[in-house]
């Protein structure tokens, strides 16, 4: 994902300033109950100021009321600015994306089997189910599924990665995204998204924050803040008659000032900025979340399901040794293994070839009349048949069954050997041969030891997750013994062995039934149901269309370990909200001590004892509090955008740290801040 370069920052800030004013429209203010109250208060104060200036000059100090009004407006503007800054970063990215969405001509096909008979239509006329053909140099006109052809595609517009990728029909690499460019060959694509619904469209909408809905947690917090605001409105409104009982008339601007200082404006003003910035941080990680809800859910994840292959281990296993059985010569075993693997282009096959060559000095057998039997899921073996013999290699039980079927005997030590390799985390590949001819014997030759290679640094990452209270479960097709060994080497908490696609789904459901939130990654079509079922399903951008539709996040870099970053972003989002709420509420203590004595200075001079900050005068106390309240919003914008630092630690440790920092800080900072502003106001003769 291309991120705006530094020169763009100035533009972002300028746009944010403009936006902050535009957002003063009542329609956008209505979104935020806390800031709406400030807005109405600022309006009211302004109207009263105008009235005072017009009719009652000298009734109350207009200079004071004017300053109050100005700072109340600043409070609103600062909050709008914060939101605009957060949105601005997304908008800049959306612009870049939009550039690649320029309308293109598409070569539409009426019959997908005849790719030569195309005619041109505009890309925005394409409907779901239409077929198009893309030739080299074409920008693919919409999201779709490749139905024929194979081509290299430049997806840098979406992923930012310059290396072209291969897209072909069938299998897990059949999805193409609108806006990407075909570099070679041709593709016939069935369009899967109508105009305006394409991935690119959605992505633009997401990064722009258009149609952004409050996430469940944000909604709950908004309700709490609205409740708190109502309580404080009640407190302030009823204060007027109580003061009247005591013989004081409180000016409305002063009451507005008290109210604005007390209601949680800090969090109220920054709440939406925090949410937008959270999405933005994900985008910087090259993850597109389809909803804010998914980002929040990421913070809540209890269980992480990770595929072993490609995520925990490197995608390929390596042959590390050969173990002959039944007195077979190890060089003979090597030769047979080599011939059986020669045509095997999988990384495992190649590693067997390499091992046979390097350690046993085997030469590549000459091309002869060789029939290659590729690996199939039903036989779970591969091998060759030539003039002399048939060689099979594969899973232990499959190969031994093959040997028995042909009347052969199994060497007694085989079972123990297979098990010991499996127990050590390796994959045993049994090699057997059947000699042709009348007295053709069948026998097991030995075992190839394939080993999984765990990616570097995985253990540390899982430890961090564990510290956060997240359990990791490795999913693998391996047998339980192998799985257990790799699980312990990688440091995951649990594993699911011999997993079939439907087992994955069952596991997700089982975890959820226990009340846990599950996150998983996937790319294949058979991952789709589980991805859809998981609370956080991260689909690889390289995956199939089905997987991408099913997940609620897409990782553009197609890095399965990205989940860990996603979880951290989710946690940070919630932490930031909590921290600023706590800060905001703790602030009120100091503000009471500043404003209340100031309000009743004339009636009950004895209450001056509560003026523990020794503020200069009533007016300066009130004004200082309002100014502090406004400035603190600006001061906390960077924190809102960056997010509270999240460290992997148990909840109790995080709580203690954040409580001291934001609760304690929230109590102390305003005492100092208000006092300083008071001193500054006095020095500048503003009060």
């Amino acid at each position: 994902m291309p991120t705006p370069s530094d020169p763009a920052r100035g533009a972002v800030a300028r746009r944010a300033l403009r936006e902050a004013v535009v957002k003063l429209h009542p329609r956008s203010m209505r979104q935020n109950p806390v800031m709406l109250v400030v807005y109405v208060g600022a309006l009211l104060t302004t109207v009263l100021l105008a009235r005072d200036l017009a009719f009652h000059p000298g009734d109350s100090s207009p200079a004071f009321t004017a300053q109050l009004a100005i700072w109340l407006w600043f409070t609103v503007l600062f909050a709008n600015f914060a939101e605009a800054v957060a949105e601005g970063r997304g908008k800049a990215q959306a612009d870049t994306l939009r550039a690649s969405r320029t309308r293109t001509r598409a070569r539409k096909l009426d019959d997908p089997t005849q790719p030569d008979h195309y005619y041109y239509v505009s890309s925005n006329e394409l409907e779901r189910g239409d077929f198009i053909v893309c030739l080299p140099g074409d920008v693919i006109a919409g999201d779709g599924e490749v139905v024929a052809g194979v081509a290299s595609v430049d997806e840098s517009a979406i992923t930012g990665e310059s290396a072209p990728v291969v897209r072909e029909s069938g299998g897990d690499r059949s999805a193409v995204t609108g806006g990407t460019k075909v570099l070679s060959d041709f593709l016939v694509v069935r369009i899967t998204a109508g105009p305006g619904e394409t991935f690119l469209d959605r992505m633009i909408a997401l990064v722009e924050g258009a149609g952004r809905q409050k996430t469940p947690n944000e909604l709950a917090l908004t309700i709490l803040l609205a409740g708190l605001t109502l309580i404080l409105i009640l407190t302030v409104v009823t204060l007027e008659p109580l003061a009247r009982y005591a013989g004081t008339r409180l000016a409305v601007p002063v009451l507005v000032a008290l109210l604005v200082c007390l209601i949680p404006t800090t969090i109220g003003g920054l709440l939406s900025a925090i949410g937008i910035a959270g999405m933005d941080r994900l985008i910087r990680q090259n993850v597109i979340a389809m909803s804010g809800r998914a980002v929040e859910a990421a913070g809540d994840v209890d269980t992480l399901l990770l595929d072993k292959t490609g995520t925990i281990t490197l995608g390929n296993r390596h042959a590390v040794s050969l173990h002959p059985v039944g007195g077979v010569d190890d060089h003979y075993l090597a030769a047979c293994a080599l011939s059986a693997s020669n045509a095997d282009e999988t990384p495992e096959g190649r590693s067997i070839v390499a091992l046979a060559r390097s350690r046993y000095g085997q030469k590549t057998p000459s091309e002869g009349d060789v029939r290659v039997l590729p690996f199939s899921a039903s036989t779970r073996m591969s091998g060759i048949d030539d003039e002399v013999h048939s060689v099979r290699k594969g899973a232990g039980d499959a190969v031994t069954r093959w040997v028995r079927e042909h009347g052969g005997l199994i060497a007694p030590e085989l079972q123990a050997l297979v098990e010991s390799i499996a127990r050590g985390g390796g994959t045993p590949l049994v090699v057997a041969e059947r000699l042709h001819g009348v007295n053709g014997s069948v026998r097991v030759l030995g075992v190839i030891h394939l080993k999984d290679v765990v990616k570097a640094g995985m253990r540390e990452r899982f430890e961090r997750l564990r510290a956060m209270g997240i359990r990791t479960v490795m999913i693998t097709g391996d047998n339980p013994l192998t799985a257990a060994a790799i699980a312990s080497e990688a440091g995951v908490d649990d594993f699911l062995a011999e997993a079939r696609p439907e087992d994955k789904m069952a596991l997700v459901k089982r975890e959820q039934l226990g009340g846990r939130l599950v996150a998983m990654t996937g790319d294949g079509t058979n991952d789709a149901p589980a991805l859809a079922q998981a609370d956080v399903g991260v689909a690889m951008n390289s995956g199939t269309q089905a997987a991408k539709e099913a997940g609620n996040m897409i990782d553009l870099e197609s890095n399965p370990t990205k989940l860990i970053e996603v979880v951290e972003v989710g946690k940070q989002l919630l932490m930031t909200r909590g921290a600023l709420t706590t800060f905001s509420i703790a602030n009120d203590v100091a503000k009471y001590f500043a404003i209340l004595p100031a309000m009743f200075l004339t009636t009950y001079p004895a209450l001056a004892s509560l003026n523990i900050m020794r503020l200069h005068s009533g007016n300066s106390a009130i004004l200082s509090s309002v100014i502090f309240n406004a400035l603190v919003i600006i001061a906390l914008i960077p924190l809102a955008l960056r997010g509270v630092r999240s460290r992997p630690a148990p909840a109790s440790v995080i709580l203690r740290r954040n409580l001291v920092l934001y609760g304690g800080g929230g109590l102390i900072v305003p005492f100092a801040g208000i006092k300083l502003i008071d001193m500054a106001l006095v020095a500048m003769h503003l009060v």
Binding site: Y245, A246, D302, I470, R516, D588, F600, A606, A651
Partner: protein, 571 residues
């Protein structure tokens, strides 16, 4: 302040601590249905009512049953008071109670407030006191306990539509908790001197030859349930200061213990039923700590006395023979420590029984009593009510602070989401609204000002205290306020009903919402609710929420009065 005074504080703490565990176990038995000693009586009652005791009610039905029962019983009391003159057991031939007074009194007893703006001995017949007030003392307490039990079920169940059966909870709470406890306590009180008779008042000739008429009545039976059910409505005007209600320092101590017994037991029951006994103890400790802080502040303020009176020649320094301090409105047998302890407990625990006159407390002593209620009746609180109010505070705390650990806030395996926050916020809003709005109105309207016994900030304190007490269903008073006017009777009645039922319904809704949820298993990422840190956090939220809401009003009442009295200003 004397060592002996602090020893009394310590003894109370120890006694309550020791009794919490068995009381909790008892409540578990009652509300989980495993007690059945009086099964025959229970079954007979259910048969008469034609209800199925095994039917599990969803929260809406539970609330409906609770409200219907309350309305019916309130209506009955209203009628009995209006027809008092025609009913039996009325040796003093007391007439009908006026309409607004009857409404307020019916509301008062139905809501477990027992605010009394009349003098019991000269207004209410034995029939009214027995059949209505004693009945409500039991029924309203059992209702509060039932709602708390329903909430406990909501928190502890998973994926359940029902939160129990209101009728069963009410009957079991009455049969297994309130009546047996009251029976025993009443007899102990009689042994110590509390009266229990249906005689007419006794006429005595004093040593100086003056006729003294001694009010009589079935006091002990009402006294016991008044305390056990945190009702607080006295037989006599002077309530537990009256020697016939609270004759000795020992009965006084037992009264305080009786007030705290069930509320304390509920924390234990809660801890056990939600499978987190430690959490129950954390709640207990938070309550205990707040109570101790209030008690110490009150004791300090009262023991130091009123500087205005000291300046006029009163020896406020206590000695072994002189009680010292501020003895206005306090009894000699209780002295300063037992009076402040009682005042703190009765306001904290929503009882409202008084053994000293809070109106005559020093400004800070009075502030403590008021603040105790304003913190939301969470410091042990009313029977049942204390627990559910505290759980509401916990929900708010968990939500605010829970976000800080980076997860959707979870409480005992339940997610706190928008609708849970919604009911908790509603709950937190209703309480200050019910206090501040009528206080503000009464502080400026002539109808409100007419009832004041004191001028200056203390007058405001009287109004504030009255609405605080009625909204908090406490029932104690700055009794100088003449609350018997139509204005106050009507407002108090409405405020009490709001403070009770408008808060119970959100509680039941919360119970329903939580019960529907599954239960998220704990992990190290779960917000901890069993730690000291959580306790500190909970105290902070309670204190800050209470302070935020009431600090301005308190500043104009007791706080201003404190500074003024110290400066020698009088009104």
């Amino acid at each position: 302040m004397t060592t002996n005074g602090w020893v009394q504080f310590g003894l109370l703490g120890m006694t309550v601590a020791l009794l919490t565990r068995p009381t909790g176990a008892w409540l578990v038995g009652v509300y989980s249905g495993s007690f059945g000693a009086l099964g025959f009586a229970e079954r007979a009652i259910y048969r008469v009512m034609r209800i199925d005791p095994n039917q599990d009610q969803p929260w809406t039905r539970y609330a409906e049953a609770m409200l219907t029962f309350s309305v019916v019983s309130m209506l009955m009391t209203y009628l009995v008071l209006r027809l008092q003159g025609m009913l039996p057991l009325n040796p003093q031939h007391l007439g009908a109670v006026a309409p607004s007074q009857a409404f307020e009194t019916a509301a008062s007893f139905t809501t477990n407030t027992n605010w009394q703006s009349y003098a019991g001995e000269s207004t209410m017949s034995y029939f009214s006191q027995l059949t209505q007030f004693t009945f409500h003392n039991v029924a309203s307490a059992a209702t509060g306990m039932a709602v708390a039990a329903a909430l406990v079920r909501g928190v502890s169940r998973k994926g359940s539509a029902g939160i129990g059966n209101f009728w069963v909870d009410l009957v079991r709470g009455t049969l297994y908790v309130l009546l047996p406890l009251s029976l025993v306590l009443a007899l102990v009180f009689v042994q110590q001197g509390t009266i229990q008779t249906l005689q007419t008042p006794v006429v005595a000739t004093t040593l100086e030859g003056v006729t003294q008429t001694l009010a009589m009545g079935p006091v002990a039976s009402q006294e016991a349930i008044k305390l056990v059910g945190t009702n607080g409505g006295g037989f006599f005007n002077a309530n537990s200061a009256h020697p016939f209600e609270n004759p000795t320092p020992l009965t006084n101590f037992l009264q305080i213990v009786a007030i705290l017994l069930i509320p304390a037991g509920f924390t234990r029951m809660y801890g056990r039923l939600v499978s987190s006994p430690r959490h129950g103890w954390v709640l207990w400790s938070v309550m205990g700590l707040l109570l101790t802080a209030g008690g110490a502040a009150s004791y300090y303020a009262e023991a130091h006395g009123n500087p205005v009176h000291a300046a006029r020649g009163v020896d406020v320094v206590g000695t072994a023979t002189n009680p010292g301090g501020n003895m206005e409105g306090k009894e000699v047998r209780f002295g300063i420590p037992s009076s402040t302890l009682y005042a703190t407990v009765t306001t904290a625990a929503s009882s409202g029984a008084v053994n000293s006159m809070h109106d005559s407390f020093t400004p800070l002593g009075g502030l403590v009593t008021m603040l105790n209620i304003q913190l939301g009746e969470v410091i042990f609180g009313g029977v049942g009510a204390g627990l559910y109010s505290m759980v509401m505070m916990v929900i708010l705390t968990v939500f605010i602070a829970g976000l800080m650990v980076g997860r959707t806030p979870e409480y005992l395996g339940k997610k706190i989401r928008a609708r849970e926050v919604q009911v908790a916020s509603l709950y937190a809003l209703i309480f200050p609204a019910a206090i501040l709005v009528p206080t503000a109105a009464s502080a400026v309207l002539p109808q409100g000002l007419a009832g004041l016994a004191n001028a200056g900030p203390h007058g405001l304190s009287e109004i504030l205290y009255a609405f605080t007490s009625t909204a908090g269903n406490n029932g104690s008073a700055f009794a100088g306020l003449s609350g018997g006017s139509t204005w106050y009777n009507t407002l108090f009645g409405l405020v009490m009903l709001t403070g009770r039922f408008a808060m119970m319904v959100p509680v039941l809704a919360l119970a329903g919402f939580l019960g529907e949820q599954g239960r998220v298993p704990d992990s190290s990422g779960t917000f901890p609710v069993t730690t000291v840190l959580f306790g500190v956090l909970l105290i902070s939220v309670i204190a800050i929420l209470g302070a935020l809401t009431f600090f301005p009003a308190l500043a104009l009442g007791p706080v201003a009065e404190h500074y003024l009295v110290n400066a020698g200003r009088l009104f």
